[in-house]
Amino acid sequence: MELMTKLEILASGARYDASCASSGSNRSSSSGGACTPSGICHSWTGDGRCVSLLKVLYTNACRYDCAYCPNRASLDIRRVSFTPEELVSITKDFYRRNYVEGLFLSSGIFSDPDIVMERLTEVARRLRNEEGFGGYIHLKAIPGAGERALREAGLWADRLSANIELPTADSLAVLAPQKDGGQILTAMRYLSDRIEESAPRLTGRRSAPLFAPAGQSTQIIIGASPEPDRTVLRLASGLYGKLGLRRVYYSAFVPTNDDPRLPVGAPPLTREHRLYQADWLLRFYGFSVNELVDESTPDLDADLDPKSAWALRNPNFFPVDLARAGLEEILRVPGVGTVGAQRILATRRAGGLRLDALPRLGIVMKRARYFVTVRGTRAVAETDPDRLRALLSPTADRRGNQTEKSSSGSIAFQREFEF
């Protein structure tokens, strides 16, 4: 079979994995490349997403029959596989031409998990040892693989990931019964421990072998199962806090077959966007999950960004005097990002902040003007919550009510993952 045909099939099979980053590693090699710690985007496809790595499956042959997967065992599709030599050649040649930063390698589970993991690791080992490749390698960690296989993978890869895919054990039992949520978490816990113990600050030795220096990540599919946003965010918060994950990716469910257990319709892109916004608030703005969603409002507001929605629910926190408030308070103002907050502090140090200077600091006054003062001078005095919602929401009616309430669906699936 032609290499191009294999590449088309196995790249198409991997495109539903949202992970795309090449950041977090500072590796280099005199004979074959280097990693850039911040990562690099090499191209953007027609869906507006970044191309940073050669993202492919080793093979789309799989013994599992997960309902949401385009490569599930029961589908009648062409099954192909790369050889390790082909993958090494393509990765090297693409890298030299500056098409990609490195390789993202996943696979269908074509055999015992240990064997699948060893096959992926073989590609990474050849790239490092035989080709002296210094670029980025992201390998999927295969749940069910033994500790020896996972440890070997971490010695050659910059990042490892095991996709948790569904937010609760109950959803997995219905949509991917052959997968074991406990096994996935066990693998992630093992990786987390190895990554932590190999961190340079602990070993103190430069020559100590690195284990996945860019850490681990995971993906949660949004909209394939009926759990609310609160369940998803509690899971993500636990993964960040207890397992030290670098990134959680949220991937809007795209129907790829007619399985009756799955919803139909367009991918929930707005919901995915709101979850990413909430994720950023958890990681960089000091918010907790319970501040964004709770039992009475388990879903994020579809019309408002999560920070604006929180501001409307907490009017007593405002207005914030930007000339005097601390960084934590400033970060809670709608329309103020991390860069804008630092610029506000820098302008204060330089000799004084004025209200009319805020737009020049990158503050989005369209949202911020209702929530800030500068030494008592207020931009817009509006405190009525309904009126504020109407002003902030582009889709609300004149009374500020949402035109369509987002549904959290059935509450049957509530057995959340335990850490």
Partner: protein, 267 residues
């Protein structure tokens, strides 16, 4: 960069002038030269000493400002259209009044400088990703690009690290300048862009140095991969244009033939 630092030094020299007079030998009388012994003694060069002190003071002041300020200064000088007066004023302000004043965006000149530096920095990061290389028949990887700003010198170090011992060249087609790197050394030449640059023939590849190992044409594989990795259910060509304006597509193998995307509103 050196010339710019000299300008800063000159501006600082106003403060560094200590007013020390030179020791001058009197020659307008016929009497015994009572000072002959002194006159024959080599005189200390107070002007040189004063200039050295000024230079040392200037160097300390320059280093105290911080490398991020100087990076903004350099990048603003590379921006086109040029922002030289604003950039020089920004640098002087940073040295005389401190880095906090240099970060004050309410100042018009500072804001213009930082805006220009941001524009240049963004283009550098973009081209670190979208420069496309192809091997010549002698095994040198060559790339051509047409940046809005003069960024070639800033790009080269990151590719020295990436290519290691593999020779490469980058040509700025707009400004007619090429950086040729071999064994970690870089030579700067004026190389006109040749639209007739041709892929090496099979014969040339056989006789020359072929460093690529794929069984099929690499550029064709890349185009196929680029098409296959797109998720058609999330089509958003406008977002693609936002990150990769159409004026850059000419040198991108995956897009140089693409006429289907909407027009870039900036063009």
């Amino acid at each position: 960069m050196t010339r710019a630092l000299f300008s800063v030094g000159a501006a600082l020299s106003e403060k560094g002038n200590t007013g020390i007079p030179l020791f001058e030998q009197s020659t307008d009388h016929d009497g015994p030269d009572l000072f002959k012994e002194v006159a024959d003694t080599p005189r200390p060069d107070f002007r040189q000493a004063a200039e050295a002190e000024v230079a040392e003071t200037a160097e300390r002041a320059i280093l105290a400002v911080g490398s991020d300020i100087w990076e903004n200064f350099e990048y603003a000088l590379r921006a086109e259209p040029m922002r030289i007066p604003d950039a020089v004023e920004y640098a002087i302000r940073a040295v005389r009044e401190g880095r906090d004043k240099a970060a004050d965006r309410s100042h018009t000149g500072t804001r213009a400088t930082l805006s220009a530096a941001f524009k240049v920095r963004r283009e550098i990061l973009r081209f670190q990703g979208i420069l496309r290389f192809a091997p010549d028949d002698d095994g040198t990887y060559r790339a051509f690009f047409e940046p809005d700003n003069d960024i070639l010198e800033v790009l080269v170090p990151s590719f020295l690290r990436r290519f290691g011992v593999v020779p490469f060249s980058i040509t700025d087609v707009k400004r007619n300048r090429t950086a040729e790197a071999r064994g970690g050394r870089v030579a700067w030449t004026t190389r006109p862009y040749s639209p007739s640059f041709v892929e090496p023939t099979q014969e040339a590849v056989t006789k020359g140095v072929n460093t690529e190992t794929c069984a099929e044409d690499v550029e064709s594989l890349w185009r196929a991969y680029y098409r296959a990795t797109e998720n058609p259910s999330r089509s958003n060509p406008t977002l693609r244009l936002k990150f990769m304006p159409r004026r850059y597509w000419r040198h991108l193998p995956e897009l140089s033939d693409d006429q289907t995307a909407p027009h870039d509103p900036g063009e």
